[in-house]
């Protein structure tokens, strides 16, 4: 008879353990959408508890995920959210800040569980296409028709967040990739003006090498900075329509593609990259320029901020920083005003409330757009905000954007993630001297076929 209570005790302990494990897993903070769901339900309960009894508006929570991990951007975004919440006491905006790569992984996991955040960072293009195809985004064409048209927002920027003519997100930053250079180092090498043609560029690279200065910084580990350089060469040589056709058809075995590769080979022969470029990350590339160790980098409109943040003085090269548009290539079919560019935007999740879209409208007001411009975290595509871009270099980028006759979205964004990786990996092999132009074009074509 002694054994019976012993067995019962053991059985009860086991059941208690299992039951405790099961129930605690649903309320313990788990790194996935269940956390945000739990948080939002907790927050809305808190909001309703503290809402003034005079308002009969239902408390609403808006989940916003963005990737601006550093100040001033982080503070600016929080400020915009705070201002909106002050004006709308029934709305609570939950901001989740994630680092770029972590954001992509977390978003993918959240979407699989069906819990899409209301507002989140987006670059448009192929990834957005996949999200739309899976029904993860909300069609906001009619919701934003009153305030987001081509008369109020730069048309090219708006189009990036349209799929099949329907709007799924709103851009807040649109720029263009160009060449950022160190004016002081150029003078030291005896270069009086930035190069306008590719041959001038190669000549300048030689001059910098002779003066003992690293001409160009790229990032072998992250792969995409050099991919942008190669994209520009393809664009300049083949022209906008040819490039768009290559992206659309998936056939990259074109003369423009191989010719661009040949130009890269010419550049490689001059040995222009920084030491250890094969293992360098983008932050190391930005640090090289920010610390005046390299003279140039081919980069987008965020370059000055990142160079400063990654430099040892935290100030970058200050007034020595200059910008010039990517040089033209002799006998190229592309126009000098064609550009490779993109920016940042906010996509709207399928479950977003009208309050979320209203916050989006507030976010895109001229007042807030000017704040984004003046803190140099982006270049607003809202028409009428150009004047608040005060930085001289960013004004040059803005002028480039305004003049652009053709704008190609970054290739690793315009295509699907798998294609993006394939293009990145194929082109970095070219810069590393491990592949040939023809092989690169073939590799990208093969990857497109396998999609």
């Amino acid at each position: 008879m002694k054994l019976v209570p012993q067995r019962l005790l053991v059985g009860a302990a086991v059941i208690a353990l299992v039951a405790g494990a099961c129930s605690s897993s649903s309320t313990s903070p788990s790194p996935s959408a269940t956390a945000s769901a739990a948080a939002s339900s907790a927050a809305s309960v808190a909001a309703s508890a503290t809402a003034s009894p005079a308002t009969s508006l239902k408390p609403v929570t808006v989940e916003w995920w963005h990737i601006t991990t550093t100040d001033p951007g982080k503070a600016v975004f929080q400020g915009i959210a705070d201002a909106y919440m002050a004006a709308h006491p029934n709305v609570k905006i939950n901001i989740t800040i994630l680092e770029n790569e972590a954001f992509k992984t977390k978003l993918a996991t959240a979407m699989q569980s069906g819990q899409v955040p209301d507002l989140f960072q987006s670059w448009g293009g192929g990834t957005m296409q996949a999200q739309v195809d899976a029904g993860m985004l909300k069609d906001i064409t009619s919701d934003v028709a009153s305030w987001a048209t081509k008369d109020t927002i730069n048309e090219g920027a708006l189009k990036i967040y349209q799929i099949n003519g329907k709007q799924y997100g709103i851009p807040w930053d649109m720029g263009m990739i160009g060449v950022w250079y160190n004016k002081a180092l150029f003078t030291k090498a005896g270069i009086t003006a930035p190069p306008a043609t590719w041959d001038d560029f190669l000549a300048d690279v030689t001059k910098l090498k002779t003066a003992g200065i690293t001409p160009l910084a790229i990032a072998g580990k992250d792969m995409w900075p050099s991919m942008h350089l190669w994209t520009y060469l393809t664009l300049r040589i083949g022209g906008g329509d040819a490039l768009a056709q290559m992206v659309k058809s998936g056939n990259w075995n074109t003369p423009a593609c191989t010719a661009a590769g040949d130009e890269v080979v010419k550049l490689n022969a001059l040995n222009p990259y920084q030491d250890g470029f094969k293992a360098a990350t983008y932050d190391m590339e930005a640090a090289a320029v920010g610390n005046a160790k390299a003279a140039m980098e081919v980069m987008g409109q965020w370059a000055p901020t990142v160079q400063a943040a990654d430099s040892t003085t935290k100030k970058g090269i200050g007034t020595d920083l200059g910008w010039f548009p990517f040089p033209t290539v002799a006998n190229g079919k592309g126009a000098a005003t064609d550009g490779v560019g993109g920016g940042n935007g906010i996509a709207v999740g399928k479950n977003a409330s009208p309050e979320a879209i209203d916050f989006l409208k507030f976010f895109n007001s001229q007042y807030n757009a000017n704040k984004i411009n003046s803190s140099n975290i982006g270049m607003s595509p809202i028409i009428g905000t150009e004047a608040t871009v005060t930085d001289v270099n960013l004004q040059a980028v803005l002028a480039g954007r305004a003049k652009a006759t053709f704008m190609q979205l970054y290739l690793d964004q315009a295509t699907s993630p798998a294609m993006g990786t394939a293009i990145n990996e194929a082109t970095i092999a070219l810069f590393d001297g491990a592949s040939t132009p023809a092989k690169v074009c073939q590799a990208i074509t093969d990857a497109a076929k396998a999609q």
């Binding site: 993918a108 993860m136 072998g220 094969k278 360098a280 190391m284 990786t421």
Partner: protein, 310 residues
């Protein structure tokens, strides 16, 4: 004792014990099934589809993912990198750990300090180790300037940037991290060898090397075999340090199976393809573990009391 056979006695006493055992095991088995077995089955299921993680699971492609994987050079590099690490660990890291363990087995002043220092790298997290080493191995950074001032400037390589050299660099860092662990394990094994055996052998005229080869080595056999087993399985799972330092690059030269799986699954949104990698890795590891248990560890578990003796 009379000829009473030691068979499990039917009766309430035995059944009670069996039930208690099962009940105690239940939570652990439940967690194991939910978080280990179920995902393995799910991965095998996903690997038969072409799936980007967002669409519903409807594009059945059968074994095509496996075919593509076996044909791809990324897969071949990844498998050969894993095998390379296993071979190098067995050939260099384990003997080195054994050597240090035998050195630390004798009494001398400061022995405890040395044991602590050698074990410390194991305590660091893999991610921190990866970050620190990738900073130290940048061109012109700590390792390069150290070598230059020691006059070894001619041996400087592009540690993490040269596709041909990167695996060697990674192996050195992995060894640095784990040799302390294996050393402690083998030290514990050495402690189990009675001193009298070695002394008796020496009295009989055996040299130090002969004592090691005929007495020490066979007697730490079980521990050594466990150490080798852990090293092999760890090498197959290699992910975090390589990811932090090179992300599988440059040019996919330092891919391991786990990294290739992660990249296809999460970076390229090809979850079916990534699952195929995962299943291949699982089967490879399982085959290796089972073969090792059957042929090498068998003598360690033979004669163990596994049958119920009343």
């Amino acid at each position: 004792m009379s000829a009473v056979k030691a068979i499990p006695r039917a009766g309430s006493k035995f059944r009670t014990k069996w039930l208690t055992i099962v009940l105690f095991l239940l939570p652990a088995v439940f967690v194991f099934a939910l978080f280990v077995l179920l995902p393995v089955v799910q991965a095998a299921h996903y690997s038969l589809y072409k799936w980007n993680g967002l669409q519903p699971l409807d594009n059945f492609v059968g074994l095509k993912n496996y075919q593509t994987a076996f044909d791809s050079s990324i897969f071949k590099t990844a498998i050969s990198n894993n095998v390379l690490i296993i071979v190098l660990s067995l050939a260099i890291q384990i003997p080195f750990s054994l050597f240090l363990a035998t050195l630390l087995n004798r009494r001398f002043r400061g022995r405890g300090i040395f044991r602590l220092i050698f074990f410390l790298p194991y305590v660091l997290s893999e991610a921190i180790t990866g970050v620190v080493f990738s900073l130290m191995l940048q061109p012109g950074s700590l390792v390069d300037s150290g070598m230059k001032s020691a006059g070894l400037g001619g041996f400087i390589q592009d540690w993490l940037g040269d596709p041909n050299f990167v695996m060697i660099t990674l192996f050195v860092i992995i060894s640095w991290k784990y040799f302390g662990f294996h050393m402690i394990l083998l030290l514990a094994g050495l402690k189990g060898i009675p001193r009298e055996l070695e002394e008796a052998a020496m009295i009989d005229g055996a040299g130090r090397l002969q004592v090691f080869r005929y007495i020490t080595l066979p007697l730490i056999g079980p521990t050594l075999r466990v150490s080798i087993f852990l090293s092999m399985i760890g090498s197959l799972q290699l992910f975090d340090m390589v990811w932090v330092m090179t992300a599988g690059g440059p040019l996919n030269a330092s891919n391991t199976m786990a990294i290739a799986m992660f990249k296809s699954g999460f970076k390229n949104s090809q979850l079916g393809y990534g699952s195929a990698f995962a299943v291949i890795l699982f089967l490879f590891g399982l085959a290796l573990a089972l073969a090792y248990q059957r042929f090498v560890l068998r003598r360690d578990i033979e004669g163990a009391v596994t049958a119920y003796n009343g």
